[in-house]
């Protein structure tokens, strides 16, 4: 994993470095799903010969489609309670983004209000992510941590966070 990140950093997001890796994997993934779109095989042929901007864009698009499909199917397997937490996180982040956009339009004059608004959303999201990490059954590290305890910690931390925010709101 690190190898990819460092590669990416070094090459400054140049796609050519990943090409041989991406295409076969994408097509195999497709094949495994029992469908073999002709576009992908064609692209696979092209990728061996030449690298062109057009093809790259197309391949990226189809890659992304395949990726989103597999992500969706993988995500469908997550338990409902984790999905609820995810929804909560998305909602919090969306609220934060709305506030930042609003700040961009109106200005950040009562800076403490803006700061507490955004950080309240970000903090909520972060704490929810922490809770999600802890109650996720697939995380082996938190096996012996009961979800009730995790939730109690979450509530406590939220309490502290929002007390601070109420104090800071001004």
């Amino acid at each position: 994993m690190e190898r990819f990140i460092t590669n990416g950093l070094k090459k400054n997001a140049c796609f050519s470095g990943y090409k041989p890796l991406c295409f076969p994997s994408a097509s195999t993934a497709e094949r495994r799903r029992g469908r073999c779109p002709s576009a992908l095989t064609r692209l696979g042929l092209f990728s061996d010969s030449e690298k062109q901007a057009l093809i790259m864009a197309k391949s990226n698009a189809s890659d992304a489609q395949a990726l989103i499909r597999s992500l969706r199917s993988a995500y469908a397997a997550t338990p409902t309670n984790l999905k609820i937490i995810d929804l909560y996180v998305v909602f919090a982040i969306a609220t934060a983004i709305i506030q930042v956009v609003y700040m961009g339009i109106v200005g950040s004059f009562p800076f403490n209000s803006f700061l507490s608004g955004v950080l309240s959303c970000v903090g909520t999201a972060v704490l929810a992510v922490c809770l999600r990490i802890q109650v996720n059954k697939e995380n082996k590290e938190f096996k012996d941590l009961p979800p009730e305890r995790a939730f109690a910690d979450f509530v406590l931390c939220n309490l502290v966070l929002h007390l601070v925010i109420m104090n800071f709101l001004g």
């Binding site: 990140i5 994997s25 990726l67 950080l119 903090g123 922490c130 931390c157």
Partner: protein, 782 residues
């Protein structure tokens, strides 16, 4: 100093016994940490020390008298005349609030202690707390044995003693405790992954922000560690839980402290944490996606996630750089810049460079301040790598950065001291561990049968388990102590699953010859004894002087110089309550706290121009100086003079800084004018500018009357100009040893100056001063 063995026998009784023993050892360590800092009270008296503590004491008095709300809104008009100072918004309130609440609690329990007593003993109490926090931190890193050793070392370390003797009522006293405790909670969160500890961590960080400007060290060190973990592939969900809530909560809590305020999100010192906050989210997302996708599909995802991540990082980086570049100082405050570039302060900010504790330390000061720990630290670092856990990598990072910072500024030796203690504690404990284990393994063999050979490692390896049960009974005292450590280490090993095999094997192999280990234990104990002897000496002799009362030993006994308090008491009793007293900024806090008089500048050096004005007045000739002081409503001028008794940190020795700081704002003051061929001197070779400046005159006025020659015992020379009169100032008070001299500004004259009239008007305006007839022609400025 617990040793460790391979005891596997059960016995909850022994575990309980070990727990109780460990508790009592900790209690004793706390008592030791408290009592070793009482030398100053025993040798001198229960008094607040030095300069800054007087300000803190005054603020605490205000807090206990007027309550918390008045404290937050306190505008102090007795300093920085005519500007005043908003105390509530410019002070780190942690120390004051701590002492104030201790006082409040004690008074509510009907224990009538004075505020001063509470203030004097706050630092020793918190050093006991700090040694317990050290125990906890080291226990998280390397187990109980190392924890106890490190706590004992920290209780004694001279560097910390120098800042926390009884009476040294300064921010660092509580801040070091807060620093260590924050680090403990961070490592605890890292080891357990509990959100509860993360919350506590943020609160402890809040306490640190309240107490000391050094909190930026924490908010930079922890992101560095997180980044290190990510780069070395040690990212885990625990890391996320330890870091992400800390940034959000910590930033919010830091903004609550008035002195920090929006700086918590606006200055560069904090940007590293936000950057790492973003990075850790990207990394967490990558790990999450890696977890739910098949490896092949993940490779596809990597491309996209990496591109998006890099794009976000680049955008944020660009925003940050734009923000930073738009601010004039690039967002860094002077003190932080002088940390990164050690020559920065001396080049640009004389007011920071002028403080001796902001200078880089010398090599002997390392030996003085951390003594034998300096030699043990490398061993501790090595021990931290076997096995390398998240917590121990944090300690390695902590010691490395603090060594760098201590090399920049002698004051930050204080940050190095806990790290050095923890490292040495680990080293000592591991060494004892190895030696006692090899003794334990070989002792029974010695009795049962002649040993086949001391280097016989393989047979020793086989007998490890067999021998253990016997060995455990031998050392009934040390064995129970390390039982929790064993447990802890096991827990650690579970976490670091990759490294589980190697250390176990190494542990089996590490059997040293019996004689060698016995000698080594002896040597280590001697080393510890040297350390203890040095620390007690440092606490008793070097660091317990309050510097407000001075003593000197000579052949005819002990001399006590109590001139400062004498002078401040004189001011308090003989001047009007609204009189303004001018002195160099060092004495500002003491004057407001002890004499209760308004001062022009004080040790909170927030307004450089104001200080430069006083510096200019001190370096100007009498008349311009009088004009400057008169424009500031100054009634009295106070100078500290050590020439008679040989007190080296007096105003003449600080004078070049006054010239530099004054010249930095008022260019007509030029440093070369005061130097003869680049040398600072006050004898007959000195420049006329020097001999005519106000500081020289106020210091050496009538000095020749003491011994007839005017021999300055600090500079070890006869002064350059011996007989002169003052025209615009009159001496009103000089203390017993001439250490503090107070002058009064003469009122302006009514008549136009003429040589014949002047002596008349002089004697008329100040009839009390009988020494003041004389030929004024001797004064070149008339």
């Amino acid at each position: 100093m617990a040793a460790s063995s391979e005891t596997k026998g059960e016995g909850t009784l022994r575990k309980a016994f070990g727990g109780v023993l460990g508790f009592f050892i900790l209690l004793l360590i706390g008592a030791l940490a408290f009592s070793i800092r009482l030398f100053s009270v025993i040798k001198y008296e229960s008094v607040i020390h030095e300069f800054d503590p007087y300000f803190n004491y005054r603020v605490t008095q205000f807090l206990t008298k007027n309550g918390i709300y008045d404290f937050w809104n306190w505008f102090d008009d007795r300093t920085w005349y005519p500007l005043g100072r908003v105390i509530g918004g410019t002070v780190y309130p942690g120390l004051t609030l701590t002492a104030g609440s201790i006082w409040w609690l004690l008074n509510n329990l009907n224990i009538p202690l004075s505020v001063e007593t509470v203030c004097v003993f706050t630092a020793p109490i918190f050093s006991a707390n700090a040694s317990w926090a050290t125990y906890l931190l080291t226990k998280e890193v390397k187990g109980t044995g190392a924890g106890l050793t490190a706590a004992a070392l920290l209780a004694l370390v001279p560097s910390y003693i120098s800042r926390s003797v009884a009476g040294s009522y300064d921010n660092e006293a509580v801040a070091i405790f807060a620093l260590i405790f924050t680090f403990y909670l961070y490592t605890k969160t890292l080891n357990t992954g509990s959100l509860f500890y993360a919350t506590l961590n943020a609160l402890s960080y809040f306490y640190m922000v309240c107490s000391w400007g050094g909190y930026t060290f924490i908010i930079n060190l922890i992101p560095m560690h997180v980044l290190l973990c990510i780069v070395t592939g040690r990212y885990s969900p625990r890391l996320y839980i330890a870091y992400a809530p800390l940034v959000v909560l910590g930033t919010l809590l830091a903004s609550l402290v008035p002195v920090v305020g929006f700086n918590a999100v606006m200055t560069s010192e904090h940007f590293a944490s936000f950057l790492v906050f973003i990075i850790i989210h990207v990394v967490a997302l990558v790990y999450y996606i890696k977890g739910i996708l098949s490896p092949k599909m993940f490779k596809v995802a990597v491309t996209l996630v990496v591109t998006i991540g890099i794009a976000v990082c680049c955008a944020v980086l660009a925003i940050l750089i734009a923000l930073v570049a738009s601010s004039p100082t690039k967002g860094w405050s002077g003190r932080s810049l002088s940390l990164l570039d050690p020559t920065y302060a001396s080049k640009y900010i004389p007011i920071i460079a002028s403080v001796s504790e902001h200078q880089p330390p010398t090599w002997p000061s390392y030996f003085m301040d951390i003594n034998v720990l300096a030699f043990l630290v490398p061993a501790g670092i090595v021990a931290c790598f076997l096995p390398l856990s998240d917590a121990s990598s944090f300690m390695v990072l902590y010691i490395t950065t603090s060594v760098y910072f201590s090399g920049v500024m002698v004051r930050l030796m204080l940050v190095l001291a806990p790290a050095a203690c923890i490292m040495s504690g680990i080293a000592l404990s591991e060494a004892f561990d190895v030696f006692t284990r090899s003794i334990k393994l070989q002792l029974p063999k010695l009795f049962e049968s002649p040993p086949p050979g001391s280097g016989d490692i393989d047979s020793a390896q086989d007998e490890v388990v067999k021998v253990d049960n016997k060995a455990a009974t031998d050392k009934s005292e040390t064995a129970p102590k390390e039982r929790p450590s064993k447990k802890n280490r096991k827990k650690e090993k579970e976490i670091v699953e990759t490294t589980i095999k190697r250390p176990l094997k190494a542990k089996r192999l590490l059997v040293l010859p019996l004689e060698a280990s016995a000698v080594a234990i002896l040597l280590l104990i001697i080393l510890g004894a040297f350390y203890v002897v040095h620390c007690v000496w440092a606490a008793a002799e070097a660091y317990s002087a309050p510097s407000i009362v001075l003593t000197s030993h000579s052949h005819d006994g002990l001399h006590v110089f109590d001139d400062f308090r004498e002078a401040y008491a004189w001011l308090r009793h003989n001047t009007d309550v609204d009189d303004k007293v001018a002195s160099w900024w060092d004495y500002g806090y003491q004057t407001t706290a002890m004499a209760n008089r308004t001062v022009i500048v004080d040790n909170n050096t927030w307004n450089n121009t104001h200080i430069a004005t006083v510096g200019t007045a001190m370096s100007s000739p009498e008349k311009p100086a009088w004009e400057i002081f008169n424009s500031l409503d100054v009634k009295y001028v106070l100078v500290v003079f050590g020439g008679l008794v040989g007190y080296p940190s007096d105003d003449i020795n600080k004078f070049l800084w006054m010239v530099r700081i004054g010249g930095g704002v008022f260019p007509h003051i030029r440093e070369p004018d005061y130097l003869r061929d680049g040398q600072y001197r006050i004898d007959a070779q000195a420049t006329p500018t020097m001999l005519n400046c106000l500081m020289y005159k106020l210091s050496y006025y009538r000095f020749v009357e003491t011994d007839g020659k005017g021999f300055d015992r600090v500079r070890r020379t006869e002064i350059g100009k011996k007989h002169f009169k003052l025209t615009h100032f009159e001496e009103v008070f000089t203390t017993h040893h001439w250490m503090v001299r107070i002058y009064k500004l003469k009122p302006p004259k009514n008549r136009i100056r003429g040589k014949s009239k002047k002596s008349k008007s002089n004697s008329k305006t100040s009839p009390s001063n009988s020494r003041r007839h004389g030929n004024l022609r001797k004064n070149p400025w008339q």
